[in-house]
């Protein structure tokens, strides 16, 4: 953050202290204005405007929690075909790796499993025979099905649905589908066909016309909503949401989990494997594997920190109510409560509308109210 931006935040806080009046604009809007005027084309990253609420008097962190934060995640909707990850991460990225980099990665994944820190891998390659970690094979062609623990299919329309129907009959393990920006239209259908979860690449989706100008948090929020919509009126039997793309550090992972992600598709380990060639005079498989291993163990520790401070013993208990944002845009896109008022922007609009309708004694039905709320929140967005 720049010095003038820090000064602006300080000024804003002092103003609040002096006047006791609420701000007309969120601080990040003002900062964005400064950035735009100074010619910066980079839009404010909404991740930065989301903070986790620390433990309060009534929600104290206890030592037992600090010592036992559960990260274990199951993939699969049927009891006998579930895969267990000790850290909710599937290594997944769109890098081409040399064979030696791949070997270093496989070694690191095996070592992590030995140390009760199992994470999985999503890859187009055929799974190694004596691996210890779960391997999800990306399958373009059904005939190339090797012996993976899980399958990832890319959604390409009706053909994918036909593929799912065929594979589901032959394959007992989890099937995940990487979706495009129109996931809200067909996620329910895919779950009906028996898939075990969807993979959402936020980097790809925010480049689409449908999500133009929106942030990764909007994609995560909508994807969770799409899964919830399928389960309306019944209990979720284990369908998972894998968020990949823009989630490349522990802070973002925690925030993504709070917004609804069950598992993170993480590519930093692939980068470490890739740069093993460039940072050393020679490529040492064991040294590179050790770096990947250490990075993942450190990430594991970081992932337990925030849930522990909030008073959770399970990483997956995070929810949007554990976060606050100073950004109206983040509040709308991620349904996150705003700082100070502890209500989402949408809740505030609903309350104002309700009060206005009652005061003016206007007859507005629920459908019309929803239309007005959507209009106002879209404007704010």
């Amino acid at each position: 953050m720049r010095l003038n931006e820090k000064a602006l935040i300080r000024k804003s806080i002092l103003e609040l202290c002096n006047t006791g009046m609420p701000r007309q604009k969120s601080t990040d809007d003002v900062i964005r204005t400064i950035r735009e005027k100074s010619g910066s084309e980079k839009e404010g990253n909404l991740w930065e405007y989301i903070i986790a609420l620390g433990a309060q008097l009534s929600r104290p962190p206890f030592d037992p929690y600090r010592e036992k934060i559960k990260l274990t995640t199951k993939i699969g909707r049927k009891g006998d075909q579930k895969i267990s990850l000790k850290i909710p991460i599937l290594i997944y990225g769109k890098f081409d790796l040399s064979q030696s980099s791949k070997d270093a990665l496989y070694l690191a994944l095996d070592n992590l499993d030995d140390n009760r820190s199992t994470i999985g891998l999503i890859s187009k390659d055929e799974p190694c025979d004596e691996r210890k970690y779960p391997h999800f094979q990306i399958l373009d062609d059904i005939s190339k099905l090797a012996d993976p623990d899980g399958i990832v299919l890319e959604y390409t329309g009706v053909k994918t649905e036909e593929k799912i129907e065929k594979i589901r009959k032959e394959f007992d393990g989890p099937i995940l589908v990487e979706v495009d920006e129109y996931f809200s239209y067909y996620t329910a259908k895919l779950l009906e066909l028996g898939i075990d979860g969807i993979v959402v690449n936020t980097d790809d989706i925010i480049k689409s016309e449908k999500y133009k100008g929106k942030h990764a948090i909007a994609v995560i929020h909508d994807a969770k909503l799409a899964i919830n919509e399928f389960y309306r009126g019944k209990e979720n039997d284990g369908a998972c949401l894998v968020i990949a793309g823009d989630v490349n550090n522990a802070g973002k992972m925690v925030k993504a989990a709070g917004l609804g992600a069950d598992i993170i598709g993480y590519d930093t380990s692939l980068l470490i494997a890739k740069v093993g060639h460039h940072s050393e005079n020679f490529f040492d498989e064991e040294i590179t594997a050790k770096k990947i291993f250490n990075h993942m163990i450190a990430t594991k520790s970081e992932l337990t920190g925030i849930p522990a401070a909030i008073g959770y013993s399970d990483f997956h208990n995070l929810s949007p109510s554990d976060f606050r944002t100073s950004s109206i845009k983040a509040s709308i896109q991620g349904n996150i409560p705003l700082e100070g008022v502890d209500k989402t922007y949408k809740n505030i609009v609903e309350e104002i509308l309700e009060e206005y309708v009652n005061t003016k004694n206007i007859s507005v039905n629920q459908q019309e109210k929803q239309k007005i709320i959507n209009l106002v929140t879209e404007e704010g967005n």
């Binding site: 009534s58 104290p60 206890f62 919830n228 389960y231 959770y312 995070l318 929810s319 949007p320 554990d322």
Partner: protein, 285 residues
């Protein structure tokens, strides 16, 4: 730092047991823990009667409340419940068939003065002393909590369900309605939802412990059971004792937050602390 207590008489058919009096003693002995509200649920009616009571709070003025009571039969109870679920102005109080819930802000002795708790009989019951931490001091945030899903489920709770929002969201998604902002209500709604699903109260408690996070102990009563449940780390207190009874006094199991509550009613044999994460259930004989 709320105080909770409960008891189950050995002879479940003994409708003249002094349940109210014992509960009142147990609550008053723990009064030092909390002073913002007090409430009881006592099972004192026969299941044979086709009579349901739906009680609601009605606000009178700025800080006063009155309680409305709608009597229903099995024919129109669903319709009356639906009206409550759809009315945002309504503050749901309880849904009763065999039980009676009474609760108010203030001290336990004030509750007795207002409702005559000591004169109440029944087979089992639970009590609560509230200190407000996350929601306002109002009668509708006072325990015990029940649900509009099933009648005769009452819970009292000491502690925090930290993943309350997540549990509530998923239960609302399943179609269940909440009526307060209290994290304790989620226990009642969760138990009711699982009883509806598989009818096994022990399984329902185990499922709740598996899903709930945070430090808590709760006591839950249904028409034929009472259970004390601690979180999986045992970070909140809970103790059980047995009073073997005398010629004048029937025998009963008692449970509470503090040992003082067991002392005062003579439930000082077979003392045990429920194992963290494992529901300890007593069924009505």
């Amino acid at each position: 730092m709320c105080g909770i207590c409960g008891l189950m008489m050995d002879d479940g058919e003994l409708r003249h047991s002094p349940v109210g009096s014992i509960l009142q003693d147990m609550m008053e002995s723990q009064q030092v823990r909390a002073q913002d509200g007090a409430g009881i649920a006592i099972f004192n009616k026969s299941s044979a009667q086709d009579s349901f009571k739906i009680k609601n709070f009605r606000k009178e003025g700025i800080s006063n409340y009155a309680i409305d009571e709608v009597k229903s039969s099995s024919e129109n109870v669903s319709e009356n419940l639906q009206k409550i679920n759809q009315n945002p102005e309504c503050h749901f109080f309880s849904f009763e068939n065999e039980m009676t819930i009474l609760k108010e802000t203030g001290l336990a002795k004030d509750l007795d003065k207002k409702f005559g708790i000591r004169k109440m009989n029944g087979s089992h019951g639970i009590g609560h002393l509230r200190i407000a931490t996350s929601s306002r001091v109002t009668p509708y945030n006072t325990h015990p909590f029940s649900t509009t899903i099933l009648p005769d489920i009452a819970i009292v709770h000491n502690g925090e369900i930290t993943n309350y929002n997540l549990l509530r969201d998923s239960l609302e998604l399943e179609g269940f309605t909440f009526h307060t902002d209290s994290d304790s209500e989620v226990i009642a709604v969760f138990l009711a939802s699982r009883i509806l699903k598989h009818g096994d109260i022990e399984k329902a408690h185990r499922e709740f412990v598996a899903k709930a996070d945070g430090p808590f102990t709760y006591i839950a009563a249904t028409s034929d059971s009472i259970a004390i449940v601690r979180d999986k780390f045992g970070t909140r207190k809970g103790i059980i004792g047995y009073n073997p009874g005398t010629n004048d006094h029937p025998s009963f199991w008692a449970m509470a937050t503090d040992l003082s509550a067991l002392d005062v009613v003579g439930a000082t044999t077979k003392i045990e602390t429920p194992h963290p994460g494992k529901p300890r259930i007593f069924y009505r004989n």
